[in-house]
Symmetry: C2
Subunit: 362 residues, 2 copies
Amino acid sequence: MAEDQLNIQALVCPVPHPHDRHILLGHGSGGKMSQNLIKNIFLPPFDNPTLRAGDDAGVVHIELENGVKEQITDRFAISTDSHVVWPLFFPGGDIGRLSICGTVNDVAMMGGIPKFITVGFIIEEGFEIGLLINITKSMKSASEEANVSIVAGDTKVVQRGKADGLYINTTGVGVIPANIEIGGANAKPGDVVILSGSIGDHGIAVLGARGELGFSADVSSDVAPLNSLVQSMLNKCSQIHVLRDPTRGGLGTSLNEIAQQSNVCISINESSIPIKPAVAAACELLGFDPLYVANEGKLIAILPPEDADVVLHAMQNTRYGEESAIIGNVLTEPSRRVLLKTVIGTTRIIDTPSGEILPRIC
Amino acid sequence: MAEDQLNIQALVCPVPHPHDRHILLGHGSGGKMSQNLIKNIFLPPFDNPTLRAGDDAGVVHIELENGVKEQITDRFAISTDSHVVWPLFFPGGDIGRLSICGTVNDVAMMGGIPKFITVGFIIEEGFEIGLLINITKSMKSASEEANVSIVAGDTKVVQRGKADGLYINTTGVGVIPANIEIGGANAKPGDVVILSGSIGDHGIAVLGARGELGFSADVSSDVAPLNSLVQSMLNKCSQIHVLRDPTRGGLGTSLNEIAQQSNVCISINESSIPIKPAVAAACELLGFDPLYVANEGKLIAILPPEDADVVLHAMQNTRYGEESAIIGNVLTEPSRRVLLKTVIGTTRIIDTPSGEILPRIC
């Protein structure tokens, strides 16, 4: 049985394969093992249309009554993320900034305007309060930049050795304007694929901070709130079909998710994908494919070709979208596949990675 | 400097007291150390009126547009809780049921009708998938009972030794009906205090499951969703002033929070407080005051005296409120204090506990 297959049946076998009985780091990678865990373990008990959509945030309808008891229905985007990044501080950011931006971005990727954030701290006994103060300052700064309020919080302390310093869960709620219909299942053949900037910065910056590169990479994480970028895009075109931030699992994994949700083929051009020389060099040396390295301040947009130029121009005029580029387009066949046209003119299939890529990158 | 005082100034002293520099288990207890951590470290950067209210859930207003572009404002209750209970399974429940009920109850304590829950799992590498399946079944069952949908989720896996099996964050969103104004600051002199049932069951059940009692207590946790109990109360009286579930820190801590938020004195009668003989016996043997032992399926209600009987009767007719009793009333002085009239006729002050009570009880 392949390592990436999670077979619940095996649980009742007398001598099941250990991969089927225990959680492995790969189950948290965002790749195939994560997808199998969600599909086989979490979706069956929790199943509902919102979860089944498999998007960055759940879109819910709440029926409200206005003053004259007229029923209206409004849509909200709700998203949650636990942040276990290690180390807690890295070039370009820290777990505090990451925890706000990660959730703000997931709400924004459904076209939601993020409004409220909750924060749940799990702290290891003995953690330095000075570090906690620095992290909360970073959260304050990121939430001000993203224009969200922290409206509820919780703190738990666990004994030494039962966590790794600090974990932070954030959950975000945003309002989706009436005319917006964004979702991973909405990509259509003929659509254009735009990427908002260079890939792999976050992953390489965190690896560098771990001292795992073996050399100095001089790369900063791209961690940033993307909601104002999204608003500047939606101001130009309300017909954006898909938005997604390629975090854990990187660009390659996110494009595969969209291709599967939309039953389309996504074709991208290697030569169009922005990548910093230092990131490319680090990936080359370490044997990583930058397509699978995490980002925390980038987005993929998929939209009708007639809107591509105006949206691209709007993106390039924003702080976090200066390097935006058209990187490909959506085709009908081969369905549920991502194709890469390489710089040497060949085409290769970009698959969802199987197991663990880089643990605790976010 | 007392152990329960967290002095940020000390952080810059050359030789600060270690209690001021590092997180201790007591900072997660729900008592004074927790309150100081929130007041000194979390509130200054995150400050806003919603957080400052210090209630079980944040109450937020969202401006919406209905179909004819008329602006309306509706109120939502948002609450978050990370669950780190150990052991994961205990008589009467498990971390799955606890994680749903804890958040459902926090939303309900603001008069909110809980609608949506998000779930964030932090799983230790090597965790048994069979246990995870049992825990998700338990979450499914609790969310069905509470009539809430799980609309977003996240899974992170950390290396062996970087967690303790499984931690679960849940965040809940509920709608607050227009005529409800519940909050910890709303208790008024003359109000009556009702408790929905016996105290200390959860804490003693978890201690028993840890094998820390040294004897068999035959006590089950009371962990339960209280939103239908709250609705049956609000159906009889929309003028309930305060609702709170006395979880971490127990009844004594919750009443102190309310007395401080409302600037009142709360006086309770020891003889009126329901307590199971097995819980009383366990507390007696271990030297615990049951007033500070955690509950996960009980609530305190504070309301005008003219409504007390009808609300009490409604509570006693529900599954989780059968043992409801009037346990005291609200006075003007001594302000911000909780007084206990003991069974032997004396009066003693019930203070907020200082440090750690029982770690990882929820």
